[in-house]
């Protein structure tokens, strides 16, 4: 190149200049040559903030195929999602978050409620969310931040939750589940039927809970009630005295060496269980499935005191309006239309609209995951890997039994500030 430069007498500087100019021209024209078919309309892109639960690649690919909306995932932990909504409300369009964080999010004014009339399947959403009962009519425990307590707002920009149904929905329900303890039946070798077993000295150094204070204390409260020490009016909203009492029980257990480690991340919980570091711990359904798919016995043990449940849904950032808001509705409607619901059901979660998910699942899959029947054929995960051999039965049984057995919901307490201080004291003990 330098040879030609010398011959033609072009200096390096002019060459650089002209190249830069050309590059600039190319970049400028790129917008035109790159997208020749969408010159009149903007590309449909939605920035989707949430935890990893719903953020499957298959879901975003299918969404692009069906609706032309490109989903850009922003993945964060539950705590960080909330933090981001508070501090950077313009950094996302669609928010996928849990109902219990609404007590913080709604008063901040950083999120926009969606209009239920624009949600096609809204009337088909499971009564778990709207009435607090299963489709079969079983009443669901309402302690903690149960979704039906915070589902509606009084008005479009209201910061007050409405007790009756309105068209302003804080979060359009998507996914939920009933959580319990995961155990290693091959090591424990006896039936486990109560939350009290979590603090049983028999499992000293082999138990674990979540390292999220608001959820960890709920698990502890389940244990306290199970041992008959105390009965809470609302485990999800303790008084200071109740927090002290619960933390005292936890502190004693910690000092006695009951806990091996606290976990925060899905993979941490899988590793603790799979390696045998823990044999009993609070867990998520897909984590149990993952341990099992490694060939290690692990049971998502139903307990007589019931499940601790959680639920999440969609809303949008307050900065979303115009066509973007329309795409958001289009996306939420697509999400409830079946493909995503079936995908989540096959992971062991539950979808908000059961009818559309059912239409997208094979009858034998539906029978295994939702009806608690023995699997007719091998059960496969969404990615095609083998989860259960034919004949297996889902832990905890049917949807009715599992969701009907929910005792309390993840929550943010009124005394949250005090609880967090006590949690730090517990860690330092």
């Amino acid at each position: 190149m330098t040879e030609t430069t010398r011959k033609t007498g072009v200096s390096r500087r002019t060459l650089l200049k002209s190249t830069a100019g050309l590059a600039g021209l190319a970049a400028g024209s790129g917008a035109i040559t790159g997208f020749p078919y969408v010159m009149s309309t903007e590309p449909k892109v939605l920035r989707y903030l949430g935890t990893a639960v719903n953020e499957g690649d298959d879901i975003s690919k299918q969404c692009l195929k069906d609706t032309g909306i490109k989903i850009e995932y922003i993945t964060a932990t539950t705590d960080d999602v909330t933090k981001r909504v508070m501090t950077q409300p313009n950094s996302f369009d669609v928010l996928d978050t849990e109902y219990f964080s609404l007590k913080k999010l709604v008063p901040s004014g950083n999120i926009l409620a969606l209009d239920s009339k624009k949600i096609k399947e809204f009337d088909n959403i499971t009564p778990v969310f709207t009435k607090g009962e299963t489709p079969g009519g079983k009443k669901i425990g309402s302690q903690g931040t149960a979704p039906w307590k915070v589902l509606y707002l009084e008005g479009k920009d209201s910061k007050t939750f409405s007790k009756t149904a309105t068209e302003f929905v804080t979060l359009i329900p998507t996914v939920y589940n009933a959580d319990t303890l995961g155990i290693r039946p091959d090591i424990i070798k006896r039936p486990i039927s109560s939350w009290a077993e979590l603090l049983n000295p028999e499992f000293k150094g082999k138990a674990s809970i979540l390292n999220i204070p608001s959820i960890g204390i709920m698990d502890a409260a389940m244990v306290v009630e199970a041992t008959g020490k105390y009965k809470y009016a609302d485990k999800g909203n303790m008084t200071k005295e109740e927090i002290d009492l619960t933390m005292k029980v936890m502190t004693e257990a910690k000092k006695a060496g009951q806990f091996r480690a606290f976990w925060k991340d899905f993979n941490e919980s899988v590793n603790l269980m799979a390696s045998g570091e823990t044999v009993i711990q609070s867990m998520w359904s897909p984590a149990v499935t993952k341990v099992r798919s490694m060939g290690i016995a692990c049971t998502f043990q139903p307990l007589k005191e019931g499940y601790r449940s959680w639920a999440s849904g969609f809303c949008v950032s307050k900065g979303v309006s115009g066509p973007k808001l329309d795409w958001a509705y289009e996306f939420v409607n697509w999400f409830l239309s079946g493909y995503a619901g079936a995908y989540l059901n096959r992971q062991g979660y539950y979808s908000a609209v059961l009818s559309t998910a059912k239409a997208n699942m094979e009858p034998y899959e539906w029978a295994y995951w939702m009806e608690g029947k023995p699997a007719e054929k091998d059960i496969k995960a969404p990615d095609g890997s083998l989860l259960e051999k034919a004949g297996a039965v889902r832990d905890g049984g049917s949807y009715e039994d599992r969701m009907g057995g929910v005792a309390c919901w993840n929550a943010v307490m009124d005394e949250n500030d005090y609880m967090v201080r006590k949690w730090n004291e517990f860690i330092a003990a």
Partner: protein
Amino acid sequence: MDTSEDILQQPSPDLVRGSETARPAKAARLSPSFISWLQAGPMMLVFLAFFLIPLVFVVIVSFWDYNEYQLLPTFSGRGYTDTFEGCIAQLPDLCTIGRTYVKTLKLCVMVWAITLFIGFWVAYFLAFHVKSKTWQMGLSLLCTIPFWTSNVIRMIAWIPLLGRNGLVNSGLVKSGLINQPLEWLLFSEFSVVLALVHLFTFFMVVPIFNSMVRIDKSLIEAAYDAGATGFQTLVNVIIPLAKPGIVIGSIFVITIVMGDFITIGVMGGQQIASAGKIIETRVNALQFPAAAANAVILLVITFLIITMMSRIVDIKKEL
């Protein structure tokens, strides 16, 4: 090579002559102190924009009030009073913050002592026993290996090694040395110290090595000629001359360990208190003023430690 030729060709003779005449005149007008300010300026601006101003914000926010979902910009000492809650009432028992700092300092001293011991000897080996520069470089790069993996991967990697059914335990059980697996190998103070030492010895090695290679070899020969034993040379010649490196390395290690919460959390099974973890828990609960107050407390304590250390050795003078 071609490029350098081009550059040489480019400036016209006029330009060169012009700059020659202009330069001395300009330099005369600029005072030496102005020039040194100019040289320090860019770094100062970066420091101001990305450290001092944010720090001022942290201090201001630490005196604000807060509720569940927002900061309230009214003066409040709540972040501090909450932090020191029960510190007088619980005497002679330590309060939460007291216990947390005792634990953090204990870990800090243990890690500091071990990294100093290992780091010193690694640096000594590199500086005095490895003759070739290439080998010195290559071997120091080896010390950076622990930084090649993420914290999560590292944690997952420790379980098969130190866990209840891990390599170490099964080896010990099979060899008949112990009957029961050792529980304290993982999720304990031991594993925290191990991981921190594994990570941060490097920060000790580099400054000490740097001090050591600059020791004039003739001084060591002189000591030898004067009849000093190896130990006497080490204590009276090498250690005093390597002091600045030791202090700088110590400052690195102590400041990092004081503020660490990820390694302590992961390796301690989230059950060991640390100053950083208190801040993390507060931030996660969106209690920013309380977190800021704790950050200020941590900063003050770390600053005191460093001041004490720089009292022992005047780094500015030694450098």
